[in-house]
Structure formats: structure tokens, C-alpha cells
């Protein structure tokens, strides 16, 4: 199994807030790989498929969201997540 890592800057106005969190977790759940996020390169890591846990991270605008995935479709998962963040969660 390979681990894939990436990061993206949260530029949408509200950060990883209610709606963006729901979108992020819904997207992560489409992949078989374990997907985790963090607001520091060295963690702590949070399950990207749990909206309750994602909201506890309280990632605000201007913070970097680090992502890592493990599993057969890890690369696709990370690419999709980075894309969602870069598109500002389609909010703006």
C-alpha cells in the first residue's frame, strides 16, 4: 500500500465550516482508501470521513490543510480533495 500526501490552502471565506465539512466528508467517503486531514504537516491526523471530527479541527481561512490517504485509490482521493479545496468548496 502506498501513502499519498498533499496539501492545499483554505481560501474560502469560512474555512472548514459546516457546509465545506459536509462536502469534504461526502467526497472522502467515495473512496476506499483511508483519508485523513490535519492543519499541521506532522498531524494530529483526523478521519476525513467523519464530519463530527472534521468540525472539531476548526480549520479556519488562511490555514493549510494537509491530507494523506492510504489504499488502492489513495492518489485519486487526495487529488479530488485538493481540487475541492482549491475550488473553495464551490462556495464562492
Amino acid at each position: 500500500m502506498q501513502e499519498v500526501k498533499a496539501h492545499a490552502l483554505l481560501t474560502n471565506e469560512v474555512g472548514l465550516h459546516a457546509r465545506p465539512s459536509v462536502k469534504l466528508t461526502q467526497l472522502a467517503k467515495r473512496f476506499a482508501a483511508t483519508v485523513e486531514v490535519a492543519i499541521r504537516a506532522d498531524g494530529p491526523w483526523t478521519d476525513a470521513k467523519s464530519p463530527v471530527k472534521i468540525m472539531r479541527v476548526k480549520a479556519a481561512k488562511g490555514e493549510t490543510l494537509f491530507m494523506r490517504a492510504n489504499g488502492s485509490d489513495a492518489q485519486a482521493a487526495v487529488t479530488a480533495l485538493v481540487d475541492l479545496v482549491n475550488r473553495k468548496f464551490e462556495e464562492e
Binding site: 465550516h17 459536509v22 464530519p51 468540525m55
Partner: protein
């Protein structure tokens, strides 16, 4: 017998109907079963709440749908219930376990630095109550047509579960016009009044909710209803026309121009407001803008510079950190004071934290290079304190002069809110005065701002309070410095004539009140007011 309760308008319009009291679910009791029974009870309640939310989600569109989708996502997530089940395994009843687990989760939101996250605490509370209501077997009240929902506070889910197409209104004892449910009520056009106090729980029979003036009438007769309806329509028209004219100056009937500025707590306050509608920012409250940035000079600088940019050349008055009182900042303010409003707050705290104070002064002096910026000190009591603060500013300006940073010397003034300072205003070497009528009134009348029982005593129109304001105006005039009012009185149509009559010529108000304040001024004849005074 007709009676009236006065609160705050939260959603405009008028509704008349039977009062229906909704009680908070926490007050009920249920029997405690075995661990297995309690586990099953919670599982059932969560599943029931989840299904109800899912069916609600499919019926909604727009913001309401997004909000419910968020609640649904949380209810579908096992992580939400892990801690509650752990408590049940330890022998705790399902309702107690769920309540305490959710309170912990909610506390995490409430202590967030970011206001967007803090605001989500209401959604968590909503989820908490949905599940609790199921645990206690309480059903959603089936409301009679056009019922006036009466409660201490109203969770968004209860609001969303009611069919408002048949009319109705809301009367709340607590609550706030900026709450989530107030936003929903405005978007659905449901009249709503908040902050009516404890009396609200005794409401019964026919009541009239007036969301224009913010009051509730009990047992109104048909004449009272039609009068209220006419008045409400007139007020709605006045508001609409006031908004249309908001960019025009506020000049009294007899030609006296009054400066009207806005009070700002966060960038969201002025979103959508054209800078041309006001004469600048009269009070920016940095305890909300920069509470989590106390040691971050660059981030503070960016925040202040953004306000200066927004104002397009009009003056921006920024108050240095006014923590303490009802605004604690963990690790900065003093815990456990027996009377925080009479304790270490505002400038008193800043002078005890000179490192943090100087960081803010540096950021402010740098932002002053971008446009007219004024620094205002809160809670000043002695001229010596003002001088000590000025000394810090001078030191900061000397440091900046040695560095390569762009900066300018801001006007340095003070808020007048301590009665002793008001009566000694002439002794302060301030660049301007801004009268904080909320605190000045509570200190001068010995009546707490947040005490519902003494609310009537805390009246800015008390002749003693007005005499203090008049004294500050005279002292300012003698010194040739500007005097403005930035408390709630500045935005209150009832108080504005008295303030202008004692010589105030500059008011700073909540952005939402700006159009009506300007309109109120345009209808005043100052010469006649002062004749009477």
C-alpha cells in the same frame, strides 16, 4: 385587560394569534433502565432524529436545506455518539449521557476563535434537543393555525418543524436578533420579538407580536389590532424609505448637520453597507476583531488597515482592547472577580499588560499610515492613566520612526464611560471624547446593564446621566475637540432628541440602525428642541 411587553424586534411584520408556550425539553424526567435498555433508548432516539431530519432535508431548499444537511451529516456520524455510549456503559442514564456528551461537544464550538464555528453551537444544541425530545417521548407540538410560539429560546429545528404558511409569530424571553432562528424567521417573513424577559412564560390567550417596534401586546381588542397594523405598516414604509435615503446626509429640519458613524465588531457588520452611507467608523471593537491575535502585530495591522480601506477616507476610530466586564479573554482577564464590571477591564488591564498593549498600538500606528485612524482608550478613570497610555504610544512611535515601517501618529482620544471621568472631562489631555452611554448609564444609575429587573433604572434619559453628557460636551467644546456618542442611546429614536439637545453632534450606531437614525435626525427641529429644554 391589555398589557404590553417590550423586547427587541428580530423579524418584522405583525402577527395576532393564540399564545402557545413551548417548554425546553431539559425540564422533563424519565425512568432509568439497565445499561442495555439505555443503550437501545439512545440508539432509537438518534435513529428517530436522523430519520426526521432526513425527511425534513428532502423538503427544504437553500440555506435551510444546507443547515439541515449539516445536522444530518452529524447525526449519521458514529463519532457523535461514541462519548455518550461510553457514559452509558459506565452506568449513566441515556438522557444524562447524551446531554453531557453533547454539552462537551458544544463547548468545543463555543470556545472556537472563529465566529463561524462558534455560531454552529446552535446547530449542535438543535441536534441535542431533537434527540432529547425523543428520549423523553415529547412530540413536536401540533400548532393551531396562526399560533404565536412563546418560549425562552427557540432552536432552529423547532422553527423548521412548524408550518408557517398558515401565519403565526414568535415571542421569546431570551434570544437575539442575530441568532440563527431570527435569520430563518426573517427569511420566512415570520414576525418575531426577542428579549421579552421572564414574563414571557406567563403569556396566554390572544397575543399580538409586533416585529416592527419589538413588542408583544396581550389580549388586544380589535381596535388595538387595527391600530398596531396601521402603525406597523407605516413603520415598514418608513424603514424602506430610510434605507433608500441612507447615503444622504443627516441634517435636522433647521439645518444642523449631524455626523452618523457606525459601530463595528467584525467585518460581517459592514458587509453590504456602502461606506458613503456613514461618516466613518465611530467605534471598532477590537476585542472581537483581534481577541485571538493579541500578540500578532501583522495580523492586527491587516485587520485595522482593512477597516481604513473600507472607510474610503472617512475617519476610523478603533478602540484598544476592552476586555473584562462581560467580555473575558482566557489568560488575559482576571478570573473570579466578584464584580467584573467594577474590576480590571479596558485600559486598566492594558496598562497591566504593556507588552500586549504596545503590540496593538504599533499595529494601529502602522494602519494610520493608510488613512485617518483614531485610537480610543476604553474605561479611562484618571488623567494619569490617559497620560501613561499616551507615554506608551509615544514610545511606540519612536520605535517605529527608527524602523523602516510606514506609520502615522493617530489621533489619541478616550471613551467617557466612568462617571468620575465624565465630570472631570476638562482634566484629560485627550484628542477626542466618545461617550459610552451603556456603561456610563449603568455606573451612574447603579443599575446593571444585564439585569432585567433593574432595566428601567438604567435610563440614559435620567437627568443625572444627561447632565454628565452635557458636561462632557461642554468640556469638549472648550478644548476644541470632537465629542461623539457611541452607546446604544445613539441608535435609539427615543434618546436621540435628548442627546442632540445637550449638544451632541456626532452619533455612532449599529450599522443596521443607521438608515432609521439618519431619518430620525432629518425629522427633528433642533431649535425647537433646545427652546423646550
Amino acid at each position: 385587560m391589555q398589557r404590553r411587553l417590550v423586547g427587541r424586534a428580530a423579524s418584522s411584520g405583525l402577527a395576532v394569534g393564540p399564545a402557545l408556550l413551548l417548554r425546553a425539553p431539559e425540564t422533563s424526567k424519565r425512568k432509568h433502565g439497565t445499561v442495555a435498555e439505555e443503550r437501545a433508548a439512545l440508539a432509537d432516539a438518534v435513529a428517530g432524529a436522523r430519520d426526521a431530519v432526513a425527511s425534513l432535508a428532502s423538503e427544504l431548499v437553500g440555506d435551510a436545506a444546507d443547515m439541515i444537511a449539516f445536522q444530518l451529516a452529524l447525526l449519521e456520524d458514529d463519532a457523535l455518539t461514541v462519548s455518550a455510549y461510553a457514559k452509558i456503559e459506565a452506568g449513566v442514564a441515556a438522557d444524562v449521557a447524551w446531554l453531557s456528551a453533547m454539552q462537551e461537544e458544544i463547548a468545543g464550538y463555543e470556545t472556537a476563535e472563529d465566529e463561524y464555528f462558534r455560531a454552529r453551537a446552535a446547530d449542535l444544541a438543535d441536534i441535542r434537543d431533537r434527540v432529547l425530545r425523543r428520549l423523553f417521548g415529547l412530540q413536536q407540538a401540533d400548532l393551531p393555525e396562526g399560533a404565536i410560539v412563546v418560549a425562552r429560546d427557540l432552536p432552529p429545528s423547532t422553527f423548521l418543524g412548524i408550518d408557517w404558511s398558515r401565519g403565526g409569530g414568535i415571542a421569546l424571553g431570551d434570544g437575539s436578533p442575530t441568532s440563527h432562528v431570527a435569520m430563518l424567521a426573517r427569511s420566512r417573513g415570520v414576525p418575531m420579538v426577542v428579549g421579552l424577559g421572564r414574563e414571557v412564560e406567563k403569556l396566554a390567550g390572544t397575543v399580538l407580536v409586533d416585529g416592527e417596534i419589538g413588542s408583544v401586546m396581550i389580549d388586544p381588542d380589535s381596535e388595538a389590532v387595527s391600530m398596531a397594523r396601521d402603525a406597523s405598516e407605516r413603520l415598514a414604509r418608513r424603514k424602506a424609505s430610510a434605507v433608500e435615503w441612507q447615503c444622504e446626509p443627516a441634517v435636522t429640519v433647521d439645518g444642523v448637520a449631524i455626523a452618523v458613524l457606525v459601530n463595528v465588531s467584525g467585518a460581517a457588520d459592514i458587509a453590504g453597507l456602502p461606506a458613503a452611507a456613514c461618516d466613518g467608523i465611530g467605534l471598532a471593537r477590537t476585542e472581537f476583531l483581534t481577541a485571538n491575535l493579541l500578540r500578532d502585530e501583522d495580523a492586527q495591522y491587516r485587520t485595522y488597515a482593512e477597516l481604513v480601506r473600507w472607510a474610503e477616507g472617512s475617519p476610523v476610530t478603533i478602540r484598544t482592547l476592552d476586555a473584562g466586564g462581560d467580555k473575558p479573554i482566557p489568560g488575559y482577564t482576571v478570573d473570579g472577580e466578584s464584580n467584573p464590571f467594577l474590576g480590571l477591564r479596558g485600559l486598566r488591564l492594558s496598562l497591566r499588560h504593556p507588552d500586549i498593549f504596545r503590540i496593538q498600538l504599533r499595529a494601529l500606528a502602522r494602519a494610520a499610515a493608510r488613512g485617518p485612524l483614531k485610537i480610543m482608550l476604553p474605561m479611562v478613570t484618571h488623567p494619569a492613566e490617559f497620560e501613561a497610555a499616551h507615554e506608551h504610544l509615544r514610545a511606540v512611535l519612536a520605535e517605529l520612526a527608527e524602523s523602516r515601517a510606514a506609520f502615522a501618529e493617530p489621533s489619541f482620544g478616550m471613551m467617557v464611560e466612568v462617571p468620575a471621568a465624565a465630570l472631570a472631562a476638562q482634566d484629560f489631555a485627550a484628542g477626542f471624547f466618545s461617550i459610552g452611554t451603556n456603561d456610563l448609564t449603568q455606573y451612574a444609575t447603579a443599575a446593571a446593564r444585564d439585569g432585567a429587573e433593574v432595566a428601567d433604572y438604567a435610563d440614559v434619559l435620567h437627568p443625572g446621566v444627561l447632565a454628565m453628557i452635557a458636561h462632557v460636551v461642554r468640556a469638549g467644546r472648550d478644548k476644541g475637540i470632537e465629542v461623539s456618542v457611541c452607546g446604544d442611546a445613539a441608535g435609539d429614536a427615543r434618546s436621540i432628541p435628548a442627546l442632540l439637545a445637550v449638544g451632541v453632534r456626532s452619533l455612532s450606531v449599529a450599522p443596521g440602525l443607521l438608515p432609521m437614525v439618519k431619518q430620525t435626525i432629518r425629522e427633528l427641529d433642533l431649535a425647537r428642541l433646545t427652546e423646550r429644554a
